[in-house]
């Protein structure tokens, strides 16, 4: 997993509530058995005028000039500013892979859907929850070209170049994992004896669970 410490980057706005993971990465790309190759198809149905498919390269596509991420001023953006319930719907982790491969390291919104939240944490995509007022203020600021933010995970602070800053909350556990980029499975396997002991007790209490 990619670790996260301090990141400074260009901010792009996605001014819609309830952006679902079907929009972030449409279903036809889920046929891939790989973990990579999704960045060019991020927001595919919004980003292009023609219908995308696996194997169709970007040169063959027609960009939608009205889609916000296609604007010249947002090229290279690495911080996505979003609205409520971002990442709702399907559990597809491909949505996180697509956002990260495109170049996003961080998404800021008033709220996120639960499964998307966990998937992001498992890949090192930092999700920052700010109150709706702060998000509104950021949407106003992002109207000025070249608006950048510095995201400081150790001090849990998002700062604009004029010095205005917003503090954010994050679980101590998730923060530590993001900072270290540690292997989640390795962390759990360190508890293997406890899992084995639990399993043995559970098997006695509820043997029907273990029927082949």
């Amino acid at each position: 997993m990619e670790s996260f410490d301090i990141h400074r980057g260009l901010v792009a706005p996605m001014d819609r509530a309830n952006v679902d993971t079907d929009q972030i990465i449409p279903k036809q790309f889920l046929k891939s058995i790989r973990r990579t190759g999704f960045g060019d198809n991020l927001f595919d149905a919004w980003r292009y005028l023609d219908e995308g498919d696996i194997g169709k390269t970007q040169n063959e596509r027609q960009f939608n000039p009205d889609f916000v991420l296609n604007a010249a001023r947002y090229q290279g953006a690495s911080v996505l500013l979003a609205r409520d319930n971002f990442g709702c719907g399907s559990s597809r982790e491909h949505a996180v892979w697509a956002l990260m491969e495109y170049g996003f390291r961080c998404v800021i919104a008033p709220s996120f859907a639960d499964i998307f939240f966990t998937n992001s944490a498992n890949n090192g995509l930092l999700l920052i929850v700010l109150d709706p007022g702060a998000v509104d203020a950021l949407f106003e600021r992002v109207a000025s070209p070249g608006f950048e933010l510095t995201v400081d995970l150790p001090s849990q602070r998002v700062t604009a170049d004029d010095g205005t800053s917003w503090l954010f909350d994050i679980d101590a556990e998730r923060k530590q994992r993001l900072l270290s980029g540690l292997d989640d499975i390795g962390l759990t396997l360190a508890c293997a004896p406890a899992i084995r002991e639990f399993e043995a007790q559970h098997r006695r209490r509820a043997p029907w669970v273990f029927q082949p």
Partner: protein, 472 residues
């Protein structure tokens, strides 16, 4: 201290302990796998040189990508015309073979949508913790099992450790008072819930559905309700165990029997919230006030009664909601004020993990019988090979075929249109599935979420239709 909720009880009985970083480890009893979200997880296991922790906890089947047309299906995996889809299904077969995981292959009669076959096989049992790399895993909560959709990293984590690293969610109770009126079904009930609380209404919570109307529901109906708990943002949905649950579970291939059954049933009787349990949030809905529901927009919360009209975004106070509604109407090609029953359809889809069980097919067939489909295409896709077989034994297939429906092979099909079953740009569909997101059923397609009764009524009307009027 107050009593414990059903969720509290299942959580506590599966809590292994705390990891070094403070996350709780929850033991996973059952892991369901399918072809779309598992290949990267198996690859991760291989790269790290890890083996599955408990092979017999896993059960796999291909469902998302499989063709539902008989001619393509009979040739098995090698017959899948779409090469990329074929490779994905072959990859699942190979992974299951390599790791010794039981798989119901593409033409095994037990194959089907994972959330249909789990309960059908007794792989889903009360009190279990169940996970699957699919958000609609919430379906299994109908059995008082804590069932959660997970991402691919977690699929790998569960394969390797038999645990999920989690924090406990909040407790939410949705009480459904009264009784559903004739023609109004479980699907209408859950759509009405999502309409009320919104798609983020239960974020961070496990929802327990309770009350007289839930107690009256069949297991199929409860599965429909819990299936869409995720559409309300819930981490899981739950219904307490009662006789309806036990009757359904008894005698399934993986259900306990004999003395084991007696012990299990006694244990399962405790799977209900204590009378003094404390919930963080509570919502009450009166089932008797509900009409058949139909979605008009591109989110499952954008729903009206079938006898209402398309809402006017201009009438909304909240500017963000008004913008969402306007955008949805543009995408859906609808004008405010149009009666829903005057909206003509191109396709009707009866299927998906929400509504492709035997009861759903019986209800739809009851309306289709003796009538003719008046939409260009209507299809029925059973949820599993066993549902299909049972429907055929009951003669439902012939009822559908005589009415002009296509009778397909089991799979996820047009719910998410990963295979060839799909909407084309601008096409409008009444669908018994769970998501009306932009492009969900095909690029540019327009989805109206409805119950199987409303779908069948709409198919024979050619327009969105009120099943109470057709049935009369």
């Amino acid at each position: 201290m107050g009593g414990r909720t059903l969720y509290d009880k299942i959580w506590e009985s599966h809590l292994v302990g705390e990891r070094a970083d403070g996350m709780s480890l929850m033991y996973v009893d059952r892991h369901l796998l399918h072809e779309v979200t598992s290949p990267q997880a198996f690859e991760g296991l291989r790269l790290a040189g890890r083996a599955p922790w408990r092979v017999d906890a896993n059960l796999a089947t291909p469902d998302h990508n499989v063709p539902t047309v008989r001619d393509e299906r009979v040739a098995g995996v090698d017959g899948i015309a779409d090469e990329v889809a074929r490779i994905q299904v072959q990859t699942l077969d190979a992974n299951c073979r390599d790791f010794g995981i039981e798989e119901f292959g593409i033409n095994d009669v037990r194959q089907g949508i994972v959330h249909v076959i789990g309960p059908e096989q007794g792989a889903t049992l009360p009190g279990m913790t169940i996970v699957c790399g699919d958000s609609h895993t919430s379906t299994h909560g109908a059995f008082a099992a804590l069932a959660q959709g997970i991402g691919t990293s977690e699929v790998e984590h569960v394969l390797a450790t038999q645990c999920l690293a989690q924090r406990k969610s909040g407790n939410m109770r949705i009480v459904i008072d009264g009784a559903l009126r004739p023609g109004v079904h479980a699907k209408d009930l859950i759509l009405a819930v999502i309409r009320r609380i919104g798609t983020a209404g239960a974020t961070g919570h496990v929802i327990e559905f309770t009350g007289p109307a839930v107690a009256e529901l069949s297991m199929e109906g409860r599965m429909t309700v819990c299936n869409m708990a995720i559409e309300a943002g819930g981490r899981a949905g739950l219904v307490a165990v009662d006789d309806t649950t036990l009757d359904y579970v008894a005698g399934r291939p993986l259900s306990p029997s004999g003395d084991d059954w007696t012990a299990a049933a006694a244990n399962w009787e405790t799977l209900r919230s204590d009378p003094d349990a404390v919930f963080d949030r509570e919502v009450r809905i009166d089932a008797a006030t509900l009409s058949p529901q139909v979605s008009w927009g591109t989110s499952p919360e954008l729903v009206v009664d079938i006898d209402e009209g398309v809402p006017d975004p201009g009438a909304l106070d909240d500017p963000i909601k008004a913008e969402v509604a306007s955008r949805a109407l543009r995408y859906m090609g609808l004008e405010p004020g149009t009666p829903m029953t005057q909206i003509a359809l191109d396709k009707v889809f009866i299927g998906s993990c929400t509504n492709a069980r035997i009861e759903d097919l019986r209800i739809a067939a009851g309306i289709a019988e003796g009538r003719k489909v008046r939409v260009p295409q209507a299809m029925v896709v059973p949820g599993s090979g066993l549902v299909k077989r049972q429907a055929e034994e009951e003669g439902l297939d012939q009822v559908f075929i005589d009415a002009g429906f296509e009778w397909r092979e089991p799979g996820c099909s047009m719910c998410l249109a990963m295979n060839a079953d799909r909407l084309y740009p601008g096409e409008r569909c009444a669908s018994t599935s769970n998501r009306n997101f932009e492009g969900r059923q095909g690029h540019g397609g327009r989805t109206h979420l409805v119950s199987p009764a409303t779908a069948a009524a709409s198919a024979v009307a050619g327009y969105l239709a009120d099943p109470r009027e057709i049935a009369a």
